[in-house]
């Protein structure tokens, strides 16, 4: 049986400006999902990779029965999320990086109360030790670090041993060490429980490290879906050059420049770099550098990169992941 089946899921929201717009239903339509179809096998870790605003969270919320889709169907282990919402919520659990707990209650109290919502016998102590939070168990949630708070949120989603675990931006805004530890916990949990996991992320490393398959989502549409290795083949035969300049004053000037053999150009103003996809870097590098120097740019470094999922995303959408 498939753990998750989504067929042509569409969702749009109305944005209301004035108070009376809501009453008279006069709002601007914003399409969040434009016909998402996917299926996830039991025991699989499936990634939804896309930038903020791509529609990942909306899709997760539809599965969690927090949002109703406009059209299309979503089934979790054969249960329809709209018609059998309560039944679905019994077998799933959602961990969102943006979710928190009651600040005033201790970590243990928060988890105990959450356990009661599921009407299950849950060994809260075991869950606390699973995420290594024993020493914080009796501290108020609001008094512990954001990294540990995130661990509590994850512990809450693991403690019911869900058949489908939804992880929305698992490690966003966490320092790399804690993020790595959290990924380790998820891997261990999956190994031991064979849980199906749907991971929404804009972190390509996370998607590559954890997911069996990845769907690239952009502006409410899935633009590609495969294993990370197969997705990378989409940019095989291409080299990725990352050239760091002293400064970029006019990105449009760079975009207009005719770099020989360039298939796509992405400009990152933050670190003054230009990422250029070319068919053959050895052959094209000289010409590209010459073009840059003719435009009075000072070149600080040139890197030849292995293609990543971010490159796949760029190739498919022409946009950056962040």
């Amino acid at each position: 049986m498939l753990a998750l089946e989504a067929e042509n899921v569409r969702k749009s929201f109305k944005s209301y400006e004035g108070f009376f717009d809501r009453i008279f239903n006069r709002g601007k339509n914003v399409e969040a999902l434009k016909g998402i179809s996917l299926s996830v096998k039991e025991g699989e870790i499936f990634g939804l990779l896309g930038p903020n605003g791509a529609g990942k969270t909306t899709f997760m919320d539809i599965i969690s029965n927090l949002i109703l889709p406009e059209s299309g169907t979503v089934k979790v282990f054969g249960l329809d999320v709209v018609k059998q919402g309560l039944e679905v919520r019994k077998i799933i659990n959602l961990s969102s990086a943006y979710s928190k707990f009651y600040d005033e209650l201790t970590v243990r109290e928060n988890l105990e109360i959450s356990a009661m919502y599921y009407d299950m016998k849950i060994d809260v102590e075991k869950v606390i030790s699973l995420v290594n939070l024993e020493e914080y168990a009796d501290k108020p949630f609001g008094d512990i670090s954001s990294g540990n708070q995130q661990k509590v949120v994850i512990a809450r989603s693991l403690m019911t041993n869900p058949k489908l675990l939804l992880l929305d931006e698992l490690t966003i805004a966490l320092d790399p060490n804690i993020a790595a530890r959290i990924r380790k916990i998820i891997k261990k949990f999956r190994r031991e429980n064979k849980t199906t996991i749907l991971l929404a992320t804009h972190n390509m490393y996370e998607a590559e490290e954890l997911c069996d398959r990845v769907a690239v989502i952009h502006r409410g549409r899935i633009v590609a879906c495969n294993t990370a290795a197969n997705l990378k083949k989409l940019v095989s035969g291409e080299d990725v050059l990352e050239i760091t300049l002293d400064k970029i004053e006019s990105p449009s000037e760079l975009l207009m420049a005719r770099f020989e053999g360039a298939k796509s150009i992405i400009i990152n103003k933050k670190n003054n770099s230009v990422v250029i996809h070319v068919d053959n870097s050895e052959k094209r590098l000289h010409g590209i550098l010459k073009t840059l120097m003719s435009k009075k740019y000072k070149i600080k470094s040139v890197k030849l990169k292995e293609p990543t999922l971010e490159d796949v995303f760029m190739k498919l959408t022409g946009a950056k992941l962040e």
């Binding site: 109305k14 969102s96 009651y102 109360i113």
Partner: protein, 259 residues
Amino acid sequence: MISEMIKKYWPFVLVDIKMSRRVILLFEMLFWPLMSLASLGLFTLFLKVSNIGKLFIFTGAIGWTFIHFCQHAIGRGFLSEVWHDSMKQTFSSPITLKNFIIGHWLWGIIGSIIGFTVMSTFALLIFNFNLFSLGVFIPVFMLLAALCGLIIGILSVSLVLFFGMRVDFLVWSLTDMVVFISGVYYSITVFPPSAQFIIHLFPVVYVFEGIRAALMGADALRIFLNGLIIAFFWVMLGLYVIKRIEKYAKRTGFYERYG
């Protein structure tokens, strides 16, 4: 069956009990009502208010606090999920909004009973006003007042679900708006007959008419029973409406926006 009911509502009662460690909740339950009662009591002494005047003032203050706390428990419980960013986690669990509201309401009843007991004892000891003489009508009054709190609580949560957090102030001010038309400190005979008819379609007025009738030895049972029938109707209607509004909120992405 009882254990099933306890399982449904207990988590929310427990959250409120644990949250009541916050000093502000003790203030809301006891300090402010007592301060208000003390001020009104001193006011009756200073102006040498008649017994009938005292009856209106003390029953109004104590009865209103009961309804107010029941409603606030529901509204605060709901808004607390938004303030703590825990809404998504709570409502993606296998709970229902109805159980959530009733659970917090049950805590409201517990708090209101404590508040009622403390305030009535205070009124008796300091101002010689005996509300305990209501006798067997005390539980009837409490039931009706609690149902009124539930109805206003459902209404306030419905408004937030419909309009979003821009109307969260209604959770705190809705009961105060109702004071005006429900004859808390005065008889609604001050209104024109047509307005009185409309006011009698809502249960809050029966709480105060009933309590005053009981203390004056009039037929309070009939008033309370009428109030209970109307209150049950409004509760049923409220639960139906909020289910529809929750669907609307799910369509418009309320939980995504405030999760």
